[in-house]
Symmetry: C2
Subunit: 245 residues, 2 copies
Amino acid sequence: MAVMSEPAASSRTRTGVPRGRARASHSIDAVIAGAVEILDESGAQGLTTRALAARLGGGPASIYWYVSGREELLDLAADSVLASVLTAVSGVGDSDDSDPIACARMIAVALFDAIVDRPWLGAYAMRNTAQQIHSLQLYEKLGQQVMRLGLSPRNCFHATSAIVGFVIGTAADMGQQLPVEVASGQMGREEYLAGAVTQWRALDPLQYPFVHHVVDEFAGHDDRDQFRAGLDLLLDGLRLSAGRR
Amino acid sequence: MAVMSEPAASSRTRTGVPRGRARASHSIDAVIAGAVEILDESGAQGLTTRALAARLGGGPASIYWYVSGREELLDLAADSVLASVLTAVSGVGDSDDSDPIACARMIAVALFDAIVDRPWLGAYAMRNTAQQIHSLQLYEKLGQQVMRLGLSPRNCFHATSAIVGFVIGTAADMGQQLPVEVASGQMGREEYLAGAVTQWRALDPLQYPFVHHVVDEFAGHDDRDQFRAGLDLLLDGLRLSAGRR
DNA sequence: ACCTGAACACCGTTCAAGT
DNA sequence: ACCTGAACACCGTTCAAGT
């Protein structure tokens, strides 16, 4: 029963009873850590019950003692990885004279970058607060910055949800483009992009003026830049609405 | 070989040779229409090769003559449904004195509403312009409105991508919350929401001030309202940046 | 050109039985 | 309390063979 991997962020026993001297149930963490390893190597598609069991050195049924099924496993794996995002932004917003919007921006960027690094995260991060404690805490942390703008609860809720939606949505979209090719490593991002560019250039300029207008930007674009530009639009709008209050 | 369904938007033959009198290859359209029916009834999970073949009255292998695999089938099904969005916004932006941002807003809302009606759309709409002609045309149409703001190609590209990312991301997130329950109809949206609300209220208010601040809004929120509020923030930011040019 | 039957190589999940 | 082996009920895809 080979257990590699650093321990995952949260340690809990199946019964929920906290152990005396942090001896840690050890196995739910090993399951999640193994899942993360597989996800990093071969994406969500590669995370099968049998592959995980093989890595853990057991039978495929053993996993079901720790987790209700594959969906919960994915949720937990995604959330476990967000612990590092949380610590990365732990100091953000602590001082009262920090700019709330700049703070919100830092949190959003940190979350986005984590998803870019692990494309499989996009589909499972921040989607089930009942199971995902770090997701909830990131949501809370982001919301606290927005709260400082003095908006109504309703506007506060809307703004925070908008930021999360934009981050997750954009990141998920960017991480999903190459479904099989990226996992199998047959085709790089550049080839895929180049293919789309050739297709775009071949379109009728009269019918697709916009596509032709931006095709050069598309050809040389960087996902992170694109994300930040969009995020800044959103945050500019938020700042405006905070000033209007 | 029962063929129900209105004809899908694009009619093409396998060879790509256009038929003389729109006699339509008929079968690729039937395959896509059947796929859409299944997707509407039971979601992406329900669309299996065998289920589709059964509905079409043939063997599971027959589908592979029209489509390279399940992924392409999903792409085509998603895109076929966007034809109606495209016609719904066909007149938008035709007059030169229309407000570009109001026009962009209408397109974004129409797209969002389509995804709310068909949650399975979220994961497959607007993600592969090579295969999805209506997605490309919607992107173009939206981009044309942004173009009218007189931004640089780069800002134009960023703004349009941001809007699409926000729409798809938010819609996909909202449509995915109830993974199995919604398909099997065991639990309504209200029960699910109520569960999250009770969990939120049980959190420590000192640790989760934001969650407590917005929990009432969350409890009674409408997805469409929430989306529109976020979209308006984004568009406000865009208008600001257009004014600054 | 289009479709079939049957098979291949997998899946997630369950469940009796073990320790 | 935790794990195993083996099975169940599926999957997507391929491929020879038909028409």
